[in-house]
C-alpha cells in the first residue's frame, strides 16, 4: 500500500465530493485549480521523485495550465459575465453528494473487476479515475450554468489524465501535451462562447437554450 499515492487519490475523491456539494462558483473554480496542481505532482510522485528532465517539464506544464491558466480564464469569464455567483443545481447539494457516494461505490466495484495489465502504484488509481470522470459527467448534466459545465469538463479531463498516469508509467510527453492543448483550446472557446451567450441573452442558463427553436 503506497500511502502517498493513496493520500492523493483520497484527496481527489474528497475534492470531487466537495464540488458536488458546493454552491459558490468562485470556490468551485479554485477547487478545480487545486485538483490540477495535485494531479500535476502525481507523475513525479509515481516515478519516485526521480527528477528527469521530461517529467519535470511535463509536471510544470500540467501545473501551470490546470492550476493557473484555466482558473484564471474561468475567473475572468465569471467576472466579465457579471452573472450570479451561485451554481443553480438541477439536483440539490445533499442529493448530489449522496449520488456521488453511490457512484463511488460502483466505481470501486468496477475497479476491482478490471485488473491492470501492469502493476499500478496504488490500487485506488483505477476506481478513483473512473469516479473523477463520472463526477465530472454528473456536474455537466446536473448544473444549469455554462461555467459549471466547463468545470465538469475539466474534472472529466482530470479523470482521464489520472487513468493515463496509471496505465503508462512513462508518458509519451507529446501525446499528453497534445491532449492538454486540446483542452486549452476547448476552455478558451467555451469562455468566448459563454461571453457571446451572455451578451445575446443576458444569462448563461443552458436550460433555456433548448427553447430557442420556435
Amino acid at each position: 500500500m503506497n500511502n502517498a499515492a493513496d493520500t492523493i487519490m483520497i484527496f481527489l475523491v474528497l475534492t470531487n465530493l466537495t464540488l458536488l456539494g458546493l454552491s459558490r462558483l468562485g470556490t468551485c473554480i479554485r477547487i478545480v485549480a487545486v485538483q490540477g496542481v495535485v494531479l500535476g505532482l502525481l507523475p513525479l510522485l509515481l516515478n519516485g521523485w526521480s527528477l528527469e528532465l521530461h517529467l519535470v517539464f511535463f509536471s510544470a506544464a500540467i501545473i501551470s495550465l490546470k492550476g493557473i491558466v484555466f482558473p484564471w480564464l474561468l475567473t475572468r469569464a465569471l467576472r466579465d459575465l457579471k452573472t450570479q455567483r451561485e451554481v443553480e443545481p438541477l439536483i440539490g447539494y445533499g442529493t448530489s453528494i449522496a449520488l456521488g457516494m453511490v457512484i463511488l461505490v460502483i466505481c470501486m466495484w468496477l475497479g476491482s473487476r478490471l485488473p491492470l495489465p501492469v502493476a499500478a502504484m496504488s490500487t485506488l488509481i483505477v476506481p478513483v479515475a473512473f469516479f473523477t470522470i463520472m463526477s465530472g459527467l454528473f456536474l455537466i448534466i446536473s448544473r444549469k450554468k455554462a461555467v459549471t459545465q466547463v468545470l465538469g469538463y475539466l474534472v472529466m479531463e482530470n479523470g482521464i489524465y489520472t487513468f493515463g498516469v496509471a496505465l503508462v508509467q512513462k508518458q509519451p510527453v507529446l501525446v499528453e501535451l497534445g491532449i492538454l492543448l486540446d483542452v486549452f483550446v476547448a476552455v478558451f472557446v467555451m469562455g468566448i462562447t459563454m461571453f457571446h451567450i451572455n451578451r445575446e441573452f443576458d444569462h448563461i442558463d443552458t436550460d433555456q437554450l433548448s427553447r430557442l427553436k420556435v
Binding site: N3, I10, G21, G94, I97, A98, M101, M108, L124
Partner: protein, 303 residues
C-alpha cells in the same frame, strides 16, 4: 482486572464535568476574559442538587421521569466505553450498537419532555434535535463499523484494545476520515459551535438548551451531569481512535489518555472561539459530509 474496570468508570464519572470547564476556560482566554473557575460545573451541580424543583401544572410524569432516564442511560453508556488502556466494565459482541442507541433512548425522552411542557419554543428545539441526530447517527455508526472491520472485532473493548499507533502506517487515510467524521458527531451530539451555540439564550436559535428550559433543581443537575458524561464518552471514543496509545504500562496509558482528553477540550475551545455558528440550513450539509467521510473510510477499509 475488576479494579481497572472500576477505575475506568470512576475516572469517567469524576472527570466528566472538568472537560466543560477546560473548554470554557479556553474560550475565555481567547476572548481576553478571566473566565469562570475550572470546576464551575461541579459547583453548579452541587448548587442545583440542594434546591427544590418546580413543576408546571401542565406537565405529566414524563417530564419528571425524563432526567432520571437521561442520567441512568449515561451511566450505562459509561460502563460500555474503554478509556486509555482500561477495559470497559461491560463488554459483549455488538455493544457498539447498544452504545449508539442508548443515546437515542435518552434523546427520545429529552424530546418527549420538551413536548410535554407544551411550549412552542421547546417543540422547535425538539424538532431540530431530532433532525440533526438522524443525520449524525449514520456518521457515528458507519465510522465505528469501519474501525470494527479494520480490527475484526465488534465489541468496543476488544476493538479499541487491538488498535495501536501503527494503524497510522497501515491505514492512515481511512483513520483521518473516521477521525474527522467522529469529531463532527462529537460537536453535534454535545451541541457545540458550529452546530449549536451552548451560550445562546435566544429561543429561536437554541437547539439543546431550549429543550431543558423548564427544568429546575435536581432535575436540571441530572441533565447537566448526563450531558457532561456524554461529552466525556464521545471524547473517549474519538481519542481511542485517533491516538490509541497502548504501551502496556497502565499508568502511562491512563495519563496519556487524560492528556489527550485535555488537548481535545482545548481544541474544541479553539474551534468554538474561531468559528461562528452555521446557518441552520447548512448544518444538514455538514452532517451529510460527515456521513460521506465515514462511508469513504469504510469503502477504503473494505477494499
Amino acid at each position: 482486572m475488576i479494579i481497572l474496570k472500576l477505575l475506568n468508570m470512576v475516572i469517567a464519572l469524576a472527570a466528566a464535568p472538568l472537560l466543560l470547564g477546560i473548554i470554557n476556560r479556553t474560550k475565555a482566554v481567547f476572548a481576553g476574559r478571566t473566565g469562570q473557575p475550572l470546576l464551575q460545573l461541579y459547583y453548579d451541580i452541587w448548587k442545583l442538587l440542594r434546591k427544590g424543583a418546580v413543576y408546571s401544572r401542565s406537565t405529566s410524569w414524563i417530564f419528571r421521569v425524563g432526567p432520571v432516564i437521561g442520567l441512568s442511560v449515561a451511566l450505562i453508556a459509561a460502563a460500555l466505553i474503554p478509556f486509555g488502556g482500561l477495559p470497559a466494565v461491560i463488554s459483549f459482541k455488538g455493544d457498539l450498537i447498544l452504545f449508539a442507541y442508548l443515546f437515542g433512548l435518552s434523546r427520545f425522552f429529552t424530546v418527549l419532555m420538551a413536548m410535554d411542557t407544551g411550549s412552542s419554543f421547546e417543540g422547535m428545539g425538539a424538532s431540530r434535535e431530532v433532525t440533526f441526530s438522524t443525520l449524525s447517527e449514520p456518521a457515528l455508526l458507519i465510522g465505528l463499523a469501519a474501525i470494527a472491520k479494520y480490527t475484526g472485532y465488534i465489541s468496543l473493548s476488544q476493538m479499541f484494545s487491538s488498535l495501536n499507533l501503527s494503524v497510522w502506517l497501515n491505514a492512515g487515510p481511512a483513520f483521518v476520515l473516521v477521525g474527522f467524521a467522529i469529531l463532527i458527531v462529537f460537536l453535534t451530539e454535545n451541541s457545540r459551535i458550529p452546530i449549536d451555540d451552548p451560550n445562546t439564550h435566544l429561543e429561536l436559535t437554541m437547539i439543546h438548551e431550549v429543550m431543558i428550559l423548564d427544568h429546575s433543581g435536581p432535575d436540571l443537575a441530572m441533565i447537566l451531569y448526563g450531558a457532561a458524561i456524554k461529552m466525556w464518552l464521545l471524547g473517549a471514543i474519538l481519542i481511542g481512535i485517533v491516538v490509541p496509545v497502548h504501551s502496556g504500562n497502565a499508568l502511562f496509558d491512563i495519563s496519556a489518555a487524560m492528556l489527550f482528553m485535555i488537548l481535545l477540550a482545548i481544541v474544541i475551545g479553539v474551534i468554538e472561539s474561531s468559528m461562528a455558528r452555521l446557518k441552520l440550513l447548512h448544518v444538514p450539509q455538514l452532517l451529510i459530509g460527515a456521513t460521506t467521510l465515514s462511508i469513504l473510510a469504510l469503502v477504503l477499509i473494505l477494499r
